[in-house]
Structure formats: C-alpha cells, structure tokens
C-alpha cells in the first residue's frame, strides 16, 4: 500500500472543442435548402449538435450526434423538423479513420473525452479496439451485484507509490496510476511537450522528456519531470539529471525494440539541433544498445552513476519485451532500479520501421504476467514498481494491464490523440505532423495552443480516472493497488465462455 | 392668378376632377391623337398622354400633348425617367412649358424589358421622386439640378403617381408622403378595383394628413371583358383585381361584359366621390376612349364645371 496521500485536488473539467472547424464523428448531418430557420433543431437536441448559423442553423457539433438510434426519442430532429430538411448519414470518413488497434471508435471517443471530460454517449466503443487479441479480447469479470453507482467515488484511491524499495530515497506517490511517457523535443513540438507536462502537473503525476534534451521551457515543472538518459545521450547533462526527481534509463523502446532511436533530418531544426548538440538537418540516430552496457553488471554501474549524480532521484529503467523479459526485469531490480517500465510493441509515437513494430519482441499483454509471476516467485514483486507501456489506449487497457501485473502504466499515444492526432502514421515524413503535434516546423507547431492542449489532456485523463474508479467499484476494491496481478478478474474471450464464469463479462 | 392649367383650376376650386388618358399611336400620324382629343373634349378636365407606355415605342408624349393643346384640351405630359437622363428630362420640361403644356406627371415608367425594345439600356438616371423634386425646383426656385439659374422657369402643375395596391402595403402611404414632400401637387393612382384596399390606403393617407396636401385622383379603368379582368389580375404588374370582380364579369354573357365593365366603373366612381380626400378620378380607358364620355355622363360628372 502506498503511504496515504494527502487528498489531491484534481482539476476541473472545462470544455475544449476541436481545433478544426469540423470535428469528426460517426454521423454527419446535412440541412438542406428547405430549412426555414425555425430553430427547432437547436432547441430539441440535448447533445448540442446544432448551433445558430449566419443564415441557417448549422450542425456544427454533429460529432455529438447519436445517429439513427436517436430515432426512438421524441426529440429526434430528423422526424421533428417541420420542413424535413435534416438528413443524418454515416460519416464516410469513419470507415477509413484509425486502424485495427486505434479504431475510429476509439479515436472519436478519445476526442470526445478530451473535449468534454466525459464518457462518450454516442454509442462508440471506448473500451477496446479491433486487434483481435490481447487487451481487445480481454474482458473484466464483474461480480453480479451492482456496485457501479456514482456514490463514494472519492473513497476509492487511484494513487500508487513509485518507490517501493527499502532505500532511503524519497517516497513518491502519484494520485493516478500513470505517468506520461517520453516524447522527445524534436519528435513532438514544444507545445505538445508543454501541454503534456502541464497536464501531468495538474494531475499530480510525471511526464518524461524523452531523449531530446531538457528544453528550458520545462524548468518551471522540474518536480514533475522524468528526464531520460537514452543510448544517444542527446541533451543529457549533469545539471539536467540533478533537476528532477526521477531519472529514466531507456534501453529500448517497444515500437522499435532492438533498434536505436531515430530522428529524420527534416525534423532536426536549429532549435532541435541546439538542444541535442547536433548538426541542423542531419538525421540523428541513437545507437542500440548502450555501448557501455553489455551485462547486468554494466547496467548496475549506470544506475549507480545516476544515483551518485542525484542522491534523491528514483531510477527507472525502460526496457522492451524480449523472450527473457522476466530476466531483464530481475536484472534491473538487482542493479538498483526503483521502477521498471516494460514497453510493449504497440506503442511508440515517433517513426519506426514497420517490420520492427510488427514483429520484434512480444506484446505487452504476454510480458506483464510473465514478469509479475517471475517476480512473485523471486519474492521481490513488492520491492519494485512495474509500469506497463506500449499500447495502452484506454482506461480499460490501463485497468487490464494492472490486473495483469503492472502497478501502473505509462502513456503517450493517447495524449496525442487527445490533441487530435488522427493516426495517419506520417509523423516522420517531410515537415512532420500535418496536424501540428509531432513536428518542429514552426508553421505547423502554430496550429495548436498550449492552454488548449493542456486542457484536452487533462480532460481525457479525468475521464479515464472516472472509468478506473468505476471498474474498481464494480470489483469491490477500494484502491487500485488491490487490482495488481488479479488475473482472476480477467477473461480472454477465446478461452473462456460466459457460462463458465462467476459474474458478468464486461460488454463490448 | 388664373393659371393655365385647367386641371389645377378645377381642383383648386374644389371640384371633383376628371382626367382621362390618351395613348399616342405607334406611328407618325397626328390624326389619331386629334380624333381621340375630339372624343374627350368637354368631358374631361385634362388628358394624360402616356410616355412610351410599357416600353413600347410610340409617338412622343410631348408632341402628342402639343397636338391636343391645339385641339383645345388641357394635356398632362407624362414623363418617365426610363428613357432620358437628367439633361434630357430638364430640357424637355423647359420645352414643354415653352410650348404651353401646363401639367406634368412624373413617373419612373414600366421597365424596358416589357416592351418591344428589351435590349434598350434603361436610363433611370433619376427616379420619379427625384424628378418631381427637380421639376418643382425648376419651377419654384428657377434652378436646375446643380443650382444653375434658369432665365425663365417653367410653369407646370406637378403630378405623380401612386399605387395603393403594390407591396409593401404599409409603406405605400409613406411613399406618397415622400412624393408630396418632393413637391407633387396632384396624384393619380393605379386602377382601382379593390375598394377595400383602396380605402385602407386612404385611411393611412388621411392619417398622415396627405389628403390635405395633395389632390388625389383615383384611377379608373373600365373592364372590356372577363378575360381582360383576368389578364390584368395575373399579368399586369401592380394591379389588384379581386376575384369578385372577375366573377362578376364572368357572370354575364360575353356581349354584355362591356356594359358590365362600365357599370363597375360607375360604381367605383360613385364610391370615390364619397371618399374623403379623393379629389377626382383619372380614367384610363385603354384603347377605348369612346367609352369615356358615356362613363362620365353615367357617373353624373357631366357637364364639367367652367373654371
């Protein structure tokens, strides 16, 4: 159990609409010329789909539309419109949005949460994707008695402790079981980076710098920053290590396990180059692995070096998931790490070869139970914090990862989706992200505002926290720490049938 | 001072004035005008000569007025702003006065697209209200637009038109007021078939006190047939022929329809005579001038007063 945290003041929700003129939703509404501007639709729709327009009402927020299922309601605009001017159609874009893991439904529901801080009401599947395995086939088994009401939400703790070792270093409790993973300056814009950091501050958690240096804009937030020491050592300096409360060693990243980091030349702008002490316009490779680490002993030297440099910092080690991921974790523990972050192969926000993303190393869903069980057997499970990352897309993924053995999770892609990443997968090309998120191009960076970005991320995570508490309540738990390693509350659809279990399978 | 305008004299003396309309021919023959003048002479106080009405090319209004003047009638020169710019208009006004014409009716005119010269450039340099104002300034102040002095001002009784039946109805009386303010001294209205509406309009006119500032002559057009009634109702811009009138025309056999038309006209004239603030009638018997004497006699407006 973590030390009882002082009551944390979570931020308020403030609605933050899309940066773009037309938000994307499952349905599209068209109002034809026969509209007589009576304004009834504006009055009727409880979801606020319609807004007053210059001349006629506009379906400005049709991403809130619940579509044809609304037809049973007496406020169904299509039926009620006196001029029959309204048509609802499925947005053709929806069939091409997203991919198997981040489906159109997941994207739209994440955007919804980021905009409103609430669980989507449009009938979107906001819990699972369509990958056909892993998280997407895992379901919670809830006891039949209903504990899902809204009462007593604040009595459920979502806090976790990051330093579980017996050393003298400070305890760090975060009020939510996640922190935000490393995305380097260069791979994402400074606005994106600051939005994430500021959201982390608001949520009382941390955000990692990634491997691109420690831009001075971040200094105000030192206490909530994890700085990364990666194989390229880009931007790593003694003073940056001294500034923070957690230092992260990045051995590998799940998107390109076994390969180094890579920033294409186009993205190495003068600012990025300066930050990384590199040459403008030339591609930057981080080697793999640390050229000074060829054994657990070497690894320990590294950890000791950090501990020496900053006597108060916790050390986190970020690794991918090879066949012997359990051994790697144990090795890290003995080398003195406080946190081991297991980065599965579905995450990653920067550019990576498709072949690596798809084929190298095992999915996080396999790695977590393997590691958890092994650490239990070694008797050291409660001495180390296991953080899962790489493909945690939803509050449900987060809860599942914890049930499979993680203490908490580390997130990245979801933040970008909250910032309206559309997952076109072109972060790496040309000037970078056309939507101004993963780019260093000045013009494109200008597509986003800091306050907007911060709020969107806060909203999404507040909605996540709400969902996590609901899950815990249904499971009869008072703290997220009770969920760790509870394989028994999960079922895999391919292997377990409804009739074989006690309780109810979570729908979707 | 005795003015040269018979119409003005009649009105000033408080008589119920009668004017009629005379359409010039589509040719250069003066005889047509003369014969029309002969029919009307003695029955009406003044004769309006239309100015290329409906945009169809006809003998000029000014020339026809001169011909009628010679016949001893008191012509009203109609001037549309459609075909002439301010230079031509002012020059024609001076010319008309010099030739002894004493009445002018200022109007914008039917749009050229209705006539036989739809490719013509519509001038509309000034509009009817502006024309009224301009004539008034010429007459009363002896200046033309821009302020240049005239060596001799024109002497004209200035009229304008009003259509109580066009939309927006509420504005119609206001617009009349505007014409009065611009300087109109008499008003001829669009043909009246819908007396209800006309009376509503007159109520507003009276409310504004306009009936005391300007002489209003109600427009009368005797119907020749039920077909004409229907045509006017549907095809003629700014015309309001109620269904009951059309039905009434239809209810009699074809050969009696002309007579029925006259009857309706008489009834309308009687009604107008009763109406406070109506100072006369303007009879527009379209290509049917011979009906005018009959109508005037039957409406007990004959003989005309000597003034």
């Amino acid at each position: 159990m973590p030390s009882e945290p002082q009551k944390f003041d979570f931020p308020d929700i403030k609605e933050v609409p899309s940066r773009f003129r037309n938000a994307l939703g499952r349905y599209r509404i068209a109002i034809n010329k026969s509209c007589n501007n009576c304004g009834l639709c504006i009055e009727l729709c409880p979801y606020g789909v319609y807004k007053k327009g210059a001349k006629w009402p506009k379906a400005a927020c049709d991403h809130f539309c619940t579509g044809f299922t609304c037809s049973i309601n007496e406020f169904y605009c299509v039926n009620r419109c006196p001029e029959k001017a309204i048509t609802v159609t499925v947005n053709p874009a929806f069939e091409i949005l997203g991919d198997r893991r981040w489906t159109a439904d997941l994207l739209a529901s994440t955007w919804h949460m980021a905009e409103t801080g609430e669980i989507p009401h449009q009938g979107l599947n906001y819990k699972t994707g369509d990958s056909g395995g892993g998280f997407d086939k895992l379901r919670f088994i809830f006891p039949k008695e209903n504990r899902g009401n809204e009462e007593g939400f604040e009595d459920v703790s979502t806090a976790i402790e990051l330093n579980r070792s017996d050393d003298s270093r400070p305890k760090i409790t975060i009020p939510v079981p996640f922190y935000l993973g490393g995305m380097s300056f260069g791979s994402v814009s400074i606005i994106t980076m600051l939005s994430r950091v500021r959201a982390a501050v608001a949520l009382g958690t941390f955000c990692c710098t990634g491997e691109g240096g420690y831009p001075e804009e971040l200094m105000d937030y030192d206490d909530h920053i994890i700085t990364q020491v990666a194989t390229g050592l880009f931007g790593v300096r003694e003073e940056t290590i001294k500034r923070v409360r957690i230092v992260e060693f990045k051995y590998a990243q799940g998107a390109k396990p076994g390969l180094g980091g890579h920033l294409l030349g186009d993205k190495v702008t003068p600012r990025v180059a300066q930050m990384r002490e590199a040459v403008e316009g030339s591609a930057l490779f981080s080697p793999f692995p640390f050229h000074s680490v060829y054994s657990v002993e070497d690894h320990k030297k590294h950890v000791d070096w950090i501990k020496e440099t900053n006597s108060k910092a916790l050390v986190s080690v970020k690794v991918s998931t090879p066949t012997d991921v359990d051994m790697v974790t144990v090795g890290s523990y003995y080398a003195g790490a406080h946190i081991v972050q297991l980065d599965g192969s579905y995450g990653g926000t920067g550019a990576a070869p498709d072949i690596a993303k798809k084929n190298i190393a095992m999915p996080i869903e396999y790695a977590l139970p393997k590691v958890h069980k092994f650490l239990l057997a070694e008797g050291i499970r409660d001495k180390i914090t296991i953080i899962a990352s790489g493909g945690i897309r939803t509050a449900y993924d987060m809860a599942k990862a914890i049930a499979m053995g993680a203490d908490g999770v580390c997130l990245g892609t979801a933040d970008l989706v909250a910032l309206e990443c559309i997952r076109c997968h072109h972060c790496e090309s040309g000037r970078g992200c056309a939507r101004g998120i993963a780019t260093t191009d000045e013009e494109l960076t200008g597509l986003m505002e800091l306050e907007w970005g911060t709020r969107r991320i806060i909203n999404m995570y507040m909605a996540w926290r709400h969902q996590l508490i609901a899950i815990l309540k249904k499971l009869g738990m008072k703290s997220v720490t009770e969920l760790v390693g509870r394989f028994d509350v999960l079922a895999h659809l391919d292997y377990i049938k409804q009739e074989e279990i006690e309780g109810e399978l979570e729908r979707f | 001072m005795k003015t040269d305008s018979r119409l003005k004299r009649v009105l000033e003396k408080g008589h119920f004035a009668v004017t009629a309309e005379c359409g010039p021919p589509k040719g250069a023959d003066p005889k047509v005008i003369k014969s029309k003048g002969k029919i009307l002479k003695g029955f009406v106080d003044s004769v309006n000569v239309t100015d290329n009405q409906t945009g169809v090319v006809r003998l000029s209004s000014l020339a026809a007025c001169v011909l009628l003047k010679k016949e001893g009638l008191d012509p009203v020169l109609q001037m549309t702003t459609r075909d002439r710019n301010r230079i031509a208009l002012q020059s024609d006004i001076l010319g008309a006065s010099a030739l002894g014409i004493r009445n002018v009716l200022c109007l914008s005119g039917d749009h050229q697209s209705f006539g036989n010269q739809p490719q013509a450039k519509g001038v509309f340099d000034v509009d009817s209200v502006q024309l009224v104002q301009l004539v008034r300034q010429m007459r009363d102040n002896g200046v033309i637009l821009g302020g240049d002095k005239l060596s001799e001002p024109p002497r004209l009784f200035i009229g304008a038109v009003a259509n109580p039946f066009a939309d927006p109805f509420a504005y119609r009386a206001i617009r009349l007021g505007k014409k009065v303010a611009a300087g109109a001294e008499f008003i001829q209205t669009q043909c009246i078939y819908n007396l209800t509406r006309f009376n509503e309009w007159m109520d507003k006119v009276r409310d504004l006190g306009l009936d005391e500032k300007v002489y209003i002559l109600g427009g009368i057009t005797p119907l020749k047939s039920a077909r004409m009634a229907e045509f006017m109702s549907k095809q003629v811009a700014g015309m309001d022929v109620p269904d009951e009138i059309i039905n009434r025309m239809k209810s009699v056999p074809a050969r009696e329809q002309r007579q029925e038309g006259i009857k309706i006209a008489i009834e309308t004239i009687q009604a107008l005579k009763e109406a406070r603030g109506v100072h006369g009638v303007h009879i527009m018997a379209i290509e049917w001038e011979e009906a005018v004497p009959q109508l005037i006699e039957a409406a007990k407006l004959f003989p005309r007063p000597q003034v």
């Binding site: 773009f20 003129r21 037309n22 874009a93 069939e95 091409i96 893991r101 981040w102 056909g132 892993g134 895992l138 088994i141 051995y251 590998a252 076994g258 390969l259 080697p287 793999f288 692995p289 680490v293 060829y294 657990v296 991918s320 090879p322 066949t323 012997d324 790697v328 890290s332 579905y346 990653g348 550019a351 990576a352 070869p353 498709d354 072949i355 690596a356 993303k357 798809k358 190298i360 190393a361 999915p363 393997k370 493909g391 892609t413 997952r423 076109c424 997968h425 790496e428 090309s429 056309a434 939507r435 993963a438 394989f487 028994d488 999960l490 895999h492 391919d494 292997y495 377990i496 074989e500 | -």
Partner: protein, 460 residues
C-alpha cells in the same frame, strides 16, 4: 572485414497511379474558393499537384493524399469528404492483402523500407507468419554490433552441399574434393513467375536485376532464348523438358540448374554433374506430409540443394495442407535430428510476400528462399491475375522497360535487405547463416497464448 554489401537505390516513379486505401469524395459544387483555401494549405501539396490519369480515370488526389484530414475538417462548406476506396478493398486476395501490395509498391518506388509513426496499427497476430515474433537483445544478452554495425551484418548464404568433415588420405591430403558452392549476397532468388503477361520484357527485368544484385533468376528451359545469353551466370535453368535436350555447352556455362524431383532425380543430377562438375544442382520438390522423409532420403543420396515449394499462399497442394513455415520447421528439425542438416541447402518458396517472411522462414530452417509474386508487384502488379485469365494486364507489365523493371525490383530488394538487417540487428546477430533455424530466438503465438491467456479468469 568483409566488403560491405549495399544495394544502391534511387526512386523509380510509378507508371500508373497506385491504388490507395481512401479516396477523396469531393463535391466541387458549392466551393467557396476561400482565400485561405484548405486545398492551398495542404501540407503535402496534394491539390497543387492534382492531375487526372485518363487511362485509369484516376485522380492524383487519391494516391498522393496522406490522410491528415485537415482539408476535410477545415473546409467551411464541408465539401471534401474522404471514404474507403472500394478498389483498394478488392486488391489482391486474402493472402496478398492490399496492405502487403501497397507496402511492396512503396518499397519498389522509393527503395526505402516502410517506416511510419504513431505505433503499430495492425492486428494482434494472425495466421501463418503473423503468429510469430522475433526476439531482441537487451541488457542480459546484448549485441556487440548494434545499429551502427549493421553494414557489417552479413546476409550472404552458400548454396550447395557441404561436407560434414574432411576425409584425409594417409598422407594428410584431402581426398574428398569440396563440392561446388555458390554464394549469393542475400538469401533471395527470383523464381519462375506463377503467372504473368507475356514475359519477354519481364524476364529481362528480372535477369538484369539478379545480375546487379549478384543473385539468380530461375528461367524455364523453354523460355531460354539466345538474347538471354549474357545473363547465363545468373540464370538457374529450370529443366522442364528432357534434360538430354539441354545442349552440353549450355550446361558447361551454367553455375546452377534446377531439376524437378522424380524417381530418377539423382541420376539426372549425376548426368548433369558429369557434364559440368562445378554445377550446383537444385532439386525442386513439393512440400507435403512426405517432404521431410523425402528430404532426408535425398540428403542421404547426395543431393546438394533442395528447393521446397508451396503454392502462392504458402500452402501445400494437398487436401489438408500445412503452412510453409510449419513444414519447413518440421523438415529442418528432422534433418537436425538425423544429424545431416548442415550437409544440404534448403531453399523454400511459396507465399513469401514480405521481408519479415524471409526472416521468419530462415528462423524456421530455410537457408534461402525464392520469391515470385513480389517481383511482379514491384512492377506495379495488382495481383488481379487477369493475365492468368488471358485478359490484358491493367498496368501493362508486359510493356515495361527492363531498365525500369529491374530498378524497381532492385529497390524492393534493397528494402528487404535492409529489413532483414533490422531484424538481425535487433537480435544482435551478424550472420544470416546463423539466423537459420534459431527458433529459440523467436516467439510463437500458440505457445504464448497457452502460457498466458488460457489460464486467466481462474481463481487462485
């Protein structure tokens, strides 16, 4: 230091518009022609480059668009919509999927390996090659040559029979002469195409490319024409007629030859080798449930190279077929078990569609492999198989300029080579020869599912 093997690439443009997943459904009517039009703001300048290809009636909007959706989302009149391109959906078939085909097109066009941002968006796993992950090295088993040493990772393989030991004469001299070996710099050979439009120009494209890469193209005996003579060192003649009909002077000039398996296949091999002792003979044999037995038998009889083939979907041509990777695994393990694996070279073919298949098949026990359909796809083939039905090729592959064709294939092979290096680099391996049969450095879906998920939901 071995010399670096590096395939040079250079972009080779498409002749036809490629078919992409989404299409613009743009209603032009009602365009407001905004001063700051979303079309002008396109980061990729798609609208500026817009043109129409009238052969296909295809708008470049579709093939150039990168789906950032900014125009869709910002057009004030919502005139631009994007939808699924149904033509993309029907590209290829269940195995040669639209995703595979477009990835191959990309590699052939650019010579680059597919790289994308934003994490992996595909399915969790799948049948066949997708039910397998390769390993990586980390802390407890690090590599000595990471990404920067990748140029020194060798992808060379030897084709031919290897001696298990040297026989020495009483005087210490070697009595067993080493059998001939052919070394190719990457474990890929171009195979006979299962179908194609008339292939005069196609064959020239393949041969030109095989020559420049240092590998081989299998050419049917019946397809051999005098103008191919200059490519003989890179031709594997597939004997589809009578071996006796092969001119001896041709046999003498060949380095490799392929003969179909038959009862007297060893006799044919002997005959050919008599004509040219330096010739490496490949025996082409189908994969089926007898294959491991037959492979063992042929190895015992002195076969040099076995070319194990499955159909275009990687399946055996029998009633209850096994997937190529399973059968190759079985054969490899059988030969290992019998202690003869290293004597013989196994080439596998059938259903190899992506670079990862190459790596995975090698892990499962093949020394090298041959590819066919990807070669056509490199030349813009849509795997519609119209040519097979006698319909004209929609992308006129029969008309390609061999220089264009070979440059495209070369680009594709560069992509595959680089991706093989990625996999091996991540594993910390320096030799593709060592990758062969390294099943311990791979993870299999079935094993992991059994270990992790099948036990979930149980109390305690």
């Amino acid at each position: 230091m071995p010399p670096k093997y590096n395939i040079h690439t250079s972009p080779v443009p498409n002749r036809f518009q490629s078919i992409t997943k989404s299409g613009v459904i743009a209603w032009e009517e009602g365009c407001l022609k905004c001063a700051r039009c979303v079309k002008k703001e396109c980061v990729y300048k798609v609208y500026e480059k817009r043109s129409l290809d009238t052969r296909q009636m295809l708008d470049t909007l579709d093939s150039e668009c990168q789906d950032c959706f900014r125009c869709v989302q910002n057009c004030p009149n919502r005139l631009i919509q994007k939808g699924l391109n149904p033509t993309y959906k029907v590209l290829g078939d269940h195995y040669w999927t639209p995703e595979i085909i477009s990835s191959l097109w990309f590699q052939a066009e650019t010579g680059r390996i597919p790289v994308s941002g934003g994490g992996y968006g595909g399915p969790f796993s799948g049948p066949g090659f997708d039910a397998m992950w390769t390993d990586m090295s980390e802390i407890v088993r690090p590599t000595r040559d990471g990404i920067h040493g990748r140029e020194y990772i060798s992808t060379n393989v030897d084709l031919g029979r290897k001696l298990m030991f040297l026989e020495l004469g009483p005087d210490g001299s070697i009595v067993s002469p080493a059998p001939p070996l052919v070394e190719i710099p990457l474990p890929v050979i171009f195979d006979i195409l299962p179908w194609s439009p008339p292939r005069e120009k196609i064959n020239l494209s393949l041969l030109e490319c095989a020559q420049s890469l240092g590998t081989f193209t299998v050419v049917r005996q019946s397809d051999l024409t005098p103008d191919l003579e200059k490519y003989l060192p890179h031709i594997i003649v597939h004997v589809d007629g009578k071996p006796e009909n092969l001119p001896p002077e041709l046999i003498k000039r060949l380095r490799m030859i392929e003969i179909p398996d038959s009862e007297n296949v060893m006799a044919v091999q002997a005959m050919l080798k008599e004509e040219n002792p330096q010739l490496v003979v490949i025996i082409r044999m189908p994969l089926n449930s007898n294959a491991s037995e037959r492979a063992l038998q042929l190895t015992g009889q002195g076969a040099e190279v076995l070319h194990l083939y499955a159909d275009e979907y990687g399946l055996e041509e029998v009633d209850q077929p096994l997937f190529i990777k399973e059968r190759v695994k079985e054969i490899h393990l059988r030969l290992v078990e019998e202690g003869v694996r290293d004597q013989i070279t196994l080439i596998a073919s059938g259903g190899i569609a992506m670079a990862e298949h190459m790596a995975k098949l090698i892990i499962c026990g093949a020394d090298a492999l041959t590819i066919d359909i990807p070669l056509l796809v490199a030349m813009e083939c849509r795997v519609c198989r119209r040519c097979k039905e006698g319909i004209a090729c929609p992308v006129e592959i029969d008309q390609v300029d061999p220089a264009w064709g070979s440059a495209r294939i070369r680009n594709l092979m560069a992509g595959w080579h680089n991706q093989l290096l990625e996999i091996m680099g991540a594993m910390g391996m320096r030799e593709v020869r060592r990758l062969r049969g390294e099943m311990g450095r791979a993870m299999f879906f079935e094993d992991l599912e059994k270990e992790i998920f099948a036990t979930m939901g149980k109390r305690g």
